[in-house]
Each structure stands twice: as C-alpha cells, then as structure tokens.
C-alpha cells in the first residue's frame, strides 16, 4: 500500500514535461490522472524513479471545436468529457462510453488521454475512439505528430507512442446527428467490461447509411468490427437485419479467457452485444 520512493515533478507546460521525460529516460513515468498508475505503484508492480505529473498543464484540458472535428485535451477529466456539450453533439458515442468508465470518483480524476494512452484492451474508451476514427496528437522532442486510431493501439498496454512522447489531445471527427450506444457487459458494476461494444450509426429514412462498431476486450487491443459495419450499410434498422449483421462481430477476434468467462463465451457475447448496441444506437 506504500509505493517505492520516487522523485516528482509537475511541469506547467508540455515542453517542460518533454524535457523532464527526456532527462528521466527509462526510469521516468508520465502520470495523467494517476487512477491506474497509483494502484500499480503502491502495490509495487511498478517503481519509476521519476513521476512526471501533467496535472498542472492547463493547456491540455478542455474540449474545443475545430471545424470538422472536436478536440479533447488529453488531461480533460472523464467527468468533464461526460458533460461537455460539444461531445454530446458531435461525438455522442464518446459520451455514452465515458460515463461507463470506472466510478464517479475515478471519473473526477481520471483523464481522457490518460486512459487511452494506457491502452488497456478492457478500457472503455479505445473502442469508441477507434470506431470514430479518432486521431491522437502526440508531442515529442521533434514536434507533434498525429496518429490514426487504427495505428495507435499496438498491443496490450502498448501504443504507437515512443517512450519520449506525450499524448496531448485527441481529435474526433464530428459525427453530428449519429445515434450512438455503448453496451457494456459486467458481472458487478465496478468491473472492467467482460466485453463491450461501441456502436455509432447514421440512419437515413429508416435505413442504416453508415455504421461504426468498436469492440472492447476482444483481443489485445480495441478492435473494429468492420464486417459488421459493412453488412449494416443499406440495411433497415430492424432487429432481423441487425441480428444478421451482428453474427460476424467476433470474426477475427482473439479474446482472453479469465475468471469471468472463456474466449468462446466472449465471442458469443460480442455478437449479442453488437446487435443490442447497434439497435440502441439506431433508436430501434
């Protein structure tokens, strides 16, 4: 319950944070909201020598309109994302998922960027970010670069970011007018999802014009159920049509087996939850 000793800095700018990270090297660790990092440290599963707290970098907080996208600062707490009107209007799927992250206290401290950079395949925000084709803006010593969501999640707890880089913001293309739903399956409320499905659809005159489906905890990264998306386009938003499309939800996935169910069960769940998520998103 007591972490190993470490040095602590709380820089006021991204530049200072990058400098500290460069100086700290392998022994430095970035802390965003700290809601995953601190438990790991106090159980001594990790013992960085330097913790770089981004909490004082005001520039990383907030949501802004940027033309065809909204931009969520990496250090924006989940609770703020959950109530932000821009998010509600243009990225409803994010809102639907972010209110399902952990619990209220954690949502006050935990941050949007921190959760995504943590890249837990059971985290609630990866699948919606992937489904909505988010871009991850990453700052490094040589400036910033944007990484597409499809390239961002590399493996279990591994992203395309270098050790010397910091996630500064997430750009989410506007999905204004899209229906959205995040269907999360747990045994008790404070669990990570056993499986969850993030679905956003644009329905035009009763027909699904476009669909985006992301899967949580169905592999070592969040996954996109592209076969489902393709099967949905042009179909009526009915139980029958969606049910047929959802049967391929688990195609190509490699879900884990653990205390809460084996891989086969998760594959089955993915099809059921996908159907439910899509139907709810379509308002059907």
């Amino acid at each position: 319950m007591i972490a190993a000793q470490f040095d602590y800095v709380a820089p006021a700018t991204v530049e200072e944070a990058l400098a500290a990270l460069a100086e700290g090297g392998d022994e430095a660790k970035i802390m965003a909201g700290g809601q995953s990092l601190l438990p790991v440290m106090r159980m001594r599963l990790n013992a960085p020598e330097l913790v770089i707290d981004l909490g004082k970098i005001e520039a990383l907080r907030g949501v802004r309109d940027d033309g065809d996208a909204i931009v969520i600062g990496a250090m924006t707490p989940h609770s703020q994302v959950a109530t932000d009107p821009l998010v509600a209007e243009h990225a409803l799927l994010v809102r639907r998922a972010v209110v399902e992250v952990a619990d209220p206290q954690v949502r006050h401290r935990g941050t949007f960027g921190g959760a995504l950079a943590h890249a837990d395949p059971a985290g609630d925000l990866g699948a919606p970010a992937l489904a909505l084709n988010a871009q991850f803006v990453v700052a490094g010593a040589h400036g910033t670069r944007a990484v597409e969501a499809a390239d961002f999640f590399v493996d279990l707890f591994t992203t395309a970011m270098e050790d010397t880089e910091i996630l500064t913001e997430v750009r989410i293309p506007k999905h204004t007018g899209w229906g959205a739903h995040y269907e999360k399956f747990v045994r008790v409320a404070h669990q990570w999802p056993i499986v969850a499905v993030a679905a956003a659809v644009r329905v035009d005159g009763g027909t699904i014009a476009e669909a985006r489906v992301g899967l949580t905890n169905m592999g070592s990264t969040p996954l996109r159920a592209r076969a489902v998306e393709e099967a949905l386009v042009g179909k009526p938003a009915t139980d029958e049509a969606v049910r047929a499309a959802a049967t391929s939800a688990a195609d190509g996935t490699n879900p884990p087996s653990d205390l809460n169910g084996d891989a086969d069960y998760r594959r089955h769940l993915a099809t059921v939850l996908t159907r439910r998520a899509v139907l709810a998103a379509a308002g059907a």
Partner: protein, 835 residues
C-alpha cells in the same frame, strides 16, 4: 419476570421493540472513530510481512542482511529466530480425538504451506521503511508439489504436509440410528430404490473470503506493566486467553482491546499469525509495534470460508414424503486447522434435515488439508452450507415428483402444532410457525402472479426467462450451551458474562462480554436495561471490547450476542433490582414483600410512597443508612449459559430474470419473512437481514476465491474478488412473524446470520427454476453469466464449468511479480479499474 408484568400497565412505552436510532452512529458518521490503525504511540515501530509466493515449498535460505541495513529498519525476524517462543497457533476444536493437526507456526520455519504464508517480518521506524525493506529480504525456496484440488487432496495424491502421511484430518459422523434420534438411513435409501424416489446430488460450496471492510490491524504496547494489545478482532477475551496459553505469558499481564472494529463476519473470529508476531516483536524490542495489513494481504492470508463438496442422497416415497437423508462432505481446511477449523462444517451437521421430518439421517464429514489459505468461520459457518444443500435438493425432489417446490416443503415440514419438536439430528426446536411465515411471504411476493408470468414467458419463448426460488430455512444459533460444546469436544464454554453498575447519579454502566463490531449492542443493550431498570435509554452506557473493563466474555459470533449476552445483561439487571429492593425497603421502612418495582421506582403497595432507582443508587453510594449486613453496592454480575440453541426460521422468496442470450442473472424481487422471536430493535434487525441477504446473494452470484494451478490466489484484490456494489443489488421486502423463543427471557432468537443462511439457496433455486425447462438441474456457484449460458445452450446441464484460474491484467506494469522475492502486497494482485 413479575417485574416486567407488574410494570406494564403504568410504565412509559417499552424500549424493547422500538426502532431506536443507534447510539454508536454519532462517532461513526463524524469520523471520530477509534480503529486500531488510528493508534499512534511514541516511538512506535511498524511491521511489514514477507510472504511466500509459493503454495508449498521448502525454505532453503533467508538472507536478511540487506533488509537489516536498510534505513530505519530496527529488526528482521525469521521463523528460525522465533522458533522456540512462537509455539503454534491454536485449534480450539479438535473434532475427533484422532484429528490430524499440523503445527501452525506464526512465521514459517523451514517450509511454507500456502501462498501468502509469512516467512519473515521487517520491523522499522515507519511503515514505508518496513515496506521498502521487504523488497530486500532474499528468500530461497525449493518448490514442492502442492495439494490444491480438494477431491484430489482427499485421495492423498499429493501431501500438503508430507510428514503427516495423509491429508485427511478428521472424519466426523452423526447417525440418527446410532444416536437414537431416528432410524437407519441406508435402509431408507435401499427401500426407496424399489418403487420410491432416490435423488443423489453433489453441490459445490465455493471458497469465499469474509472481506470485512476494515483490514486487520494490531498494535501491541509492551511499555507498561501489562502488555496492551489493540486488535481488530471479534474475540478479545478468547484472544487474551489463548495468547497467554500459547506464548507462555501471564494472562493477568495481557490486556486486549478491540476498539472500533470494522466488520468481521467470522473473518475476525481468529487468533492470527499477525497478532502473534506483533506481540513477539513488541516484547523483543520493548517498543510499541503496529501491523496493518493491505487488502491484498487480507484476501490472501486472513482466513477463508466454505469450500466444501457436498454429496447428498435423499430418499422419499413416490408421493414426495421424505424418508431419509445422507450427507457426505469433503471440507477443505486449507493448510492448517484454524481456530474453529473442522468445527465449522460440524456446526452444519444438525441442520441438513432442517425443517423437514426425515425419519432417518446420517452426516459424514471428512476434513482435508490442502496447500491453500486456511478456512474457518464465515457468516453462518456450516449452517449456510447445510441450508443450501437441503433447500436445493428439496427443489429437485419437487421436480422429480412434478409438484410446485412449495408444495413439497409443506408436505414435509414440521407443522406449528408439533412444537416443541425433536429433530432427527436430536435437537429440540422450541418454537416456530413455518406456515405463517410462508403465507405472509407468498402474499408479499405475489407468488401466484409470478408463477403465471413464468408460464407465459416459457410459452412465448421469451429470451428473458423468469425463475422463482424458495428457501424455507431454519438455523441453530446462540452459540452455545457449554455442555453441548463439551460433548462436541470444543475447547471452551458458550456462556456470556455481563455486569450492571449503578452510578451514584443514577446513570447505569453495562459491561458486556459480547464484542460488537457493527451489530449495535450499545443501543440494544441500552434498550433492554432501560426497560429492566426503568431508567432512561440515554442514561445507559454500554462498555465492551476491553478485557480490563469488560473483563470476562466469550465474544461475538454465531448470532449469540443477544440471545446469550443479552440474557446475561438481563440477569445482571435483575440482581441489581433485587439488591436495590432490600435497601429501598429499609429506607421506606417497609417490608420487602410490600414493595413493587415499576417504571424504575420501588413503591409501597397501596401507598404513594416510593423511591426511584436513582435515589437508591445515591443512598447506596452514601452508605449512611443501609440495612445491617448489606454491602454498599448495587452492582451485579451475571454469567448466563444457555440451555439450548435458538432456532430462527423464515421463508425467503426470490425472483430472478435470466437473459438467455447472455446468461446474465438479474434479481427482480426478494421477499424475506423471518421469525426471529421477539425483536428488541426492528431497525437493527432489518439492517442485519439486509446485509446478510446481500452476502448470501453474493455467494450465489458473484464471489469466489479462485486459485491458479500453482496455488496462487487469483482473486486477490477487489478487482477479481467480486464484492457487489449498490448498483448490483436491489431493495428488499422484509417482514416478520413472531414465535417467541421459550428458552430466554425476552423470547429472542438471533438474527445475525439468518439472511446470509437463507438467501443463497433462494437465489440458486430461482436460477435453476428459470432454466429447468432447458434440461438444467443445477448451476454451480457462483452462477456466472458464462456458467448459466453454457447450462442453457451447451448441454452443460449441471452448470459445472470450472472457473478459469486466471485474471486479466489491467496494467502494462503488471508484470508477473518476481516469484523469488516476497511481496507483501500480494504476488498475484492486480491493481484497480480505472484510468
């Protein structure tokens, strides 16, 4: 008793029966609490444990030099250092004379027997320094094969303790034919095989963890003439006795204090290695020492509960009238025989027959040693297991006969005219009315309407199916008549002690040997004494949990506090009245026989003369005018030993909805009608019922201590040991029927464990009922969505899919902890949800 009756006409409203708000709350809701971990003493040292990552291994070397050299470390102790003084942790209940009982060192000396066992202790000037140095203790292990699976262990394939030659600790048998309380069960079963019904089932009681909210903590101060031990325990008095007995220290030189204690549920009914170690460290170093466990340590090393295989054979006539019940248990003790140890399943031995009129009954329990955390009491201790098994198999009997499960119960239960009733297990049930509780419960539940809805959902092949579960339970509580405990080879009696002290100002101090940790004794005892002595509720102060203040007691467990401890309080209060009466008569210049005591006042019959208790207290204090030969004290003690158990019962009805597409179980309605005799405080009673219900429901649906193939506890944090939240539970409909107990003054029965005992089978019966038409006749606990789904869809009709022994990592940093290094915070622990 006349006292109460006389007073009833004129007295203010009786306290007993009122929903008094608790006296305890003020400090708890404002944070002015005294948890053991709050205690800070000058120069206090802090302990941190080095624990084995292996389930079974020989310790070949421990290098403590680096740890000793670490800043602010005062001492590092290994098992070898204390081998001569530590003795063995006690087993107070050897259930048979030939029980195989391994010695239980507080620090392992040459061999570790479960993953989590303590191998060394760091003592340092701060908790952080102690924790830092734990990392520096280098232990070499030579891994040994581990006995993990209960059934395999029972076959002695791998030995948990090779030197003992067997894993079988004790075989305990009750046979109604031998005992003379019934006929032979084998004959009944044989007879039923020819034309009757024989049902054979095997149920799994998964391993649970009590998971009290306050992690255990212990502070030992050796700096005075007496050693003072503060500890988060349910049993300060038993601990004091056993510490003295085992560690060879005079009992009179040990003072044990259980300050505010944050829950127990049996989990703090223990004498722990951590207490022993803190005591030894404080004695050696001459300074106050503190140890507070982390949650992971608590889940790994505080004792677990349940963990049995239950094989049942029930015989019946063709019409469903039961004729015999045979129970064959395997009970997992873990790697040591804990304080109550094998006694826990034995506490269930008399309850499998439950409320039913079995003419023949046999109970066999084989306790087995394994290389896992030791098991002991968890809420209900033996009785939930028994109730689960019988209530599950009665449903199976109903299915076999083809009648409503309530009908099969009505057909076989003891009717209210038949009380007192001597059961086939030889117990005399004093009172009860199963019909009344059931009628009330069915009405509140809307039983017939829900059955109709169930039919309709089945007919329409609704993806959401409805199930109704019944539990018409009874239990034995109020542990326990000392003579019975003696006959069962338990190491102590079951009496309870109380003192009532009259202060000169008329205030009253009640000392109780019961040691509350959430049960509300301060309030309930005040109500009882206020009625008895006719003093205001507010004027009664209840003192407990300190062996120097409440010097004598048997502590709190087994739903015993009110029915045993409360009765002792009544007896002590009655002695005060008797003493005061003599003095009152003297002061009033009246005959004792002419006095009547009512509403706290001794009055001379037929006159308006009288004296209040407070006046007599003051006069006794002054002692200026006492009768000759009468001592200047009203204070009185009483020690009450019950003559019998008490037998609460009730009918619990549960409706669940099962999503057949996912296997998810959602509770829709839960009705509990309990008969717990006279109720002292309905508010407290309801609270006990609600909490018990959720613990029992949690066994049915969520909780399980799972070990992996190496014997590491996988569910070693609240991430994987699924204690439910408010969001997972529902509001309950509770009510009571009342058949007062005839074995104590107030007619109370005990409620602490009832909810937990009753609810587990109600829920699982509901789950099975919802999907029985798919050919399912059991789902193993916990009834996870995966198990329920497979039971419905994959011909896994017993729902026996084992829980995979793995937990998802949720952190990139969560690399497998170095198994060669000790880790106090749990080798397999996963950190918390959440970004």
């Amino acid at each position: 008793m006349t006292v109460t009756e006389d007073r009833a006409e004129t007295a203010p409203k009786a306290e007993v029966g009122q929903a008094r708000r608790r006296k305890e709350d003020q400090r708890l809701i404002t944070g002015r609490t005294k948890w053991t971990d709050n205690i800070q003493l000058p120069g206090m040292l802090h302990l941190a444990m080095v624990r084995s990552p292996f389930a079974h291994a020989r310790i070949t070397n421990i290098d403590v030099e680096a740890a000793k050299a670490s800043p602010n470390v005062v001492s590092v102790l290994t098992g070898a250092d204390v081998a001569d003084e530590q003795g063995g942790l006690p087993n107070a209940w050897p259930i048979t004379p030939d029980q195989v009982t391994p010695n239980h060192p507080s620090i392992a000396v040459d061999r570790v027997t479960f993953a989590g066992e303590i191998v060394a202790v760091v003592v340092a000037r701060s908790a952080a320094a102690a924790r830092d140095a734990v990392e520096l203790v280098d232990v070499d292990y030579e891994e040994l094969p581990a006995a993990l699976d209960l059934k395999e262990a029972a076959e002695d394939k791998v030995l948990a303790h090779p030197d003992l030659g067997t894993n079988k600790s004790a075989l305990w048998v009750f046979d109604s034919e031998t005992a003379g309380s019934g006929s032979g069960v084998d004959a009944a079963i044989e007879a039923a095989r020819d034309g009757g019904i024989v049902i054979e089932r095997e149920y799994r009681q998964q391993r649970l963890i009590p998971a009290f909210m306050e992690p255990r903590s212990c502070v030992v101060d050796p700096t005075g003439d007496q050693i003072v031990v503060w500890t988060a325990t349910q049993i300060p008095h038993i601990l004091r006795f056993l510490m003295a007995a085992v560690l060879g220290y005079p009992e009179s030189k040990i003072r044990v204090i259980a300050p505010d204690v944050g829950g127990g549920f049996g989990g703090k009914l223990q004498t722990t290695p951590e207490e022993w170690i803190t005591f030894m460290a404080a004695r050696r170093l001459g300074k106050p020492c503190k140890y507070t466990e982390s949650r992971s340590e608590s889940l790994i090393a505080a004792h677990h509960g349940r963990d049995q295989w239950q094989k049942l054979t029930l015989s019946a006539e063709k019409d469903g009238t039961v004729t015999g019940l045979k129970v064959e248990l395997l009970a997992d003790l873990g790697s040591y025989v804990a304080l109550m140890g094998g006694g826990v399943p034995v506490l269930g031995a008399f309850m499998y027959n439950s409320i039913y009129k079995f003419p023949a009954y046999q109970f066999n329990c084989q306790t087995v040693l394994t290389n896992k955390t030791w098991t002991d009491a968890y809420r209900g201790a033996g009785r939930p297991e028994a109730t689960f098994a019988i209530e599950r198999i009665m449903d199976e009997l109903a299915a076999e006969v083809g009648v409503d499960p309530m009908a099969i119960r009505e057909q076989n239960w003891i009717t209210h005219e038949e009380f007192p009733f001597t059961s086939v297990a030889g117990l005399e049930y004093d009172s009860g009315n199963y019909e009344a509780a059931t009628e009330k419960a069915k009405k509140m539940f809307g039983y017939d309407a829900l059955r109709a809805e169930q039919e309709q959902r089945r007919a329409s092949e609704d993806p959401v199916q409805l199930g109704i579960g019944i539990s018409t339970f009874t239990e034995m509580c109020g542990l326990a008549p000392s003579r019975i405990l003696g006959a069962l080879d338990y190491g102590a009696g079951g009496w309870e002690h109380a003192s009532v002290r009259m202060l000169p100002t008329g205030k009253v101090e009640v000392l109780t040997g019961s040691s509350a940790h959430g049960q509300g004794h301060e309030t309930a005892w005040s109500q009882i004494v206020a009625d008895r002595l006719g003093v205001p509720f507010e004027d009664v102060e209840v003192l407990h949990g300190d062996t120097q203040i409440a010097h004598k007691g048997m502590d709190t467990y087994g739903s015993r506090s009110l029915v045993v401890g409360g009765e002792a309080v009544i007896k002590a209060a009655d002695k005060v009245i008797e003493k005061a009466k003599v003095i009152a008569a003297h002061l009033l210049e009246a005959s004792v026989d002419d006095l009547e005591f009512s509403g706290g006042r001794f009055g001379v019959k037929g006159t308006d003369q009288g004296l209040a208790m407070a006046e007599i207290a003051l006069a006794t204090f002054a002692a200026h005018n006492l009768p000759d030969g009468v001592e200047a004290s009203l204070d009185s003690d009483a020690t009450f030993d019950p003559v019998s158990f008490s037998y609460p019962h009730g009918t619990h009805l549960c409706a669940v909805e099962i999503d057949t597409e996912t296997g998810a179980v959602a509770m829709r309605k839960y009705v509990a009608v309990d008969d717990i005799g006279t109720i002292v405080n309905p508010l407290i009673v309801e609270g006990q019922v609600h909490g018990g219900l959720v613990q029992g429901i949690a066994q049915a649906l969520w909780e399980e201590a799972v070990h992996d193939d190496a014997g590491t506890l996988v569910s070693a944090s609240f991430v994987d040991y699924l204690v439910p939240t408010a969001a997972d539970t529902i509001s309950f409909d509770t009510a009571h029927t009342t058949s007062p107990s005839t074995t104590n003054t107030l007619g109370t029965k005990g409620v602490g464990e009832a909810g937990c005992i009753a609810s587990t089978p109600a829920v699982v019966n509901a789950v099975v009922d919802a999907i029985r038409h798919f050919g399912v006749n059991d789902v193993q606990m916990p009834c996870t969505p995966a198990r329920v789904y497979k039971a419905i869809h994959q011909q896994d009709q017993g729902g026996e899919t084992p829980t995979p022994g793995g937990a998802a990592p949720h952190f990139d940093e969560a690399d497998v902890a170095d198994r060669s290094a000790g880790a106090t915070d749990g080798a397999a622990a996963q950190a918390g949800d959440h970004q």
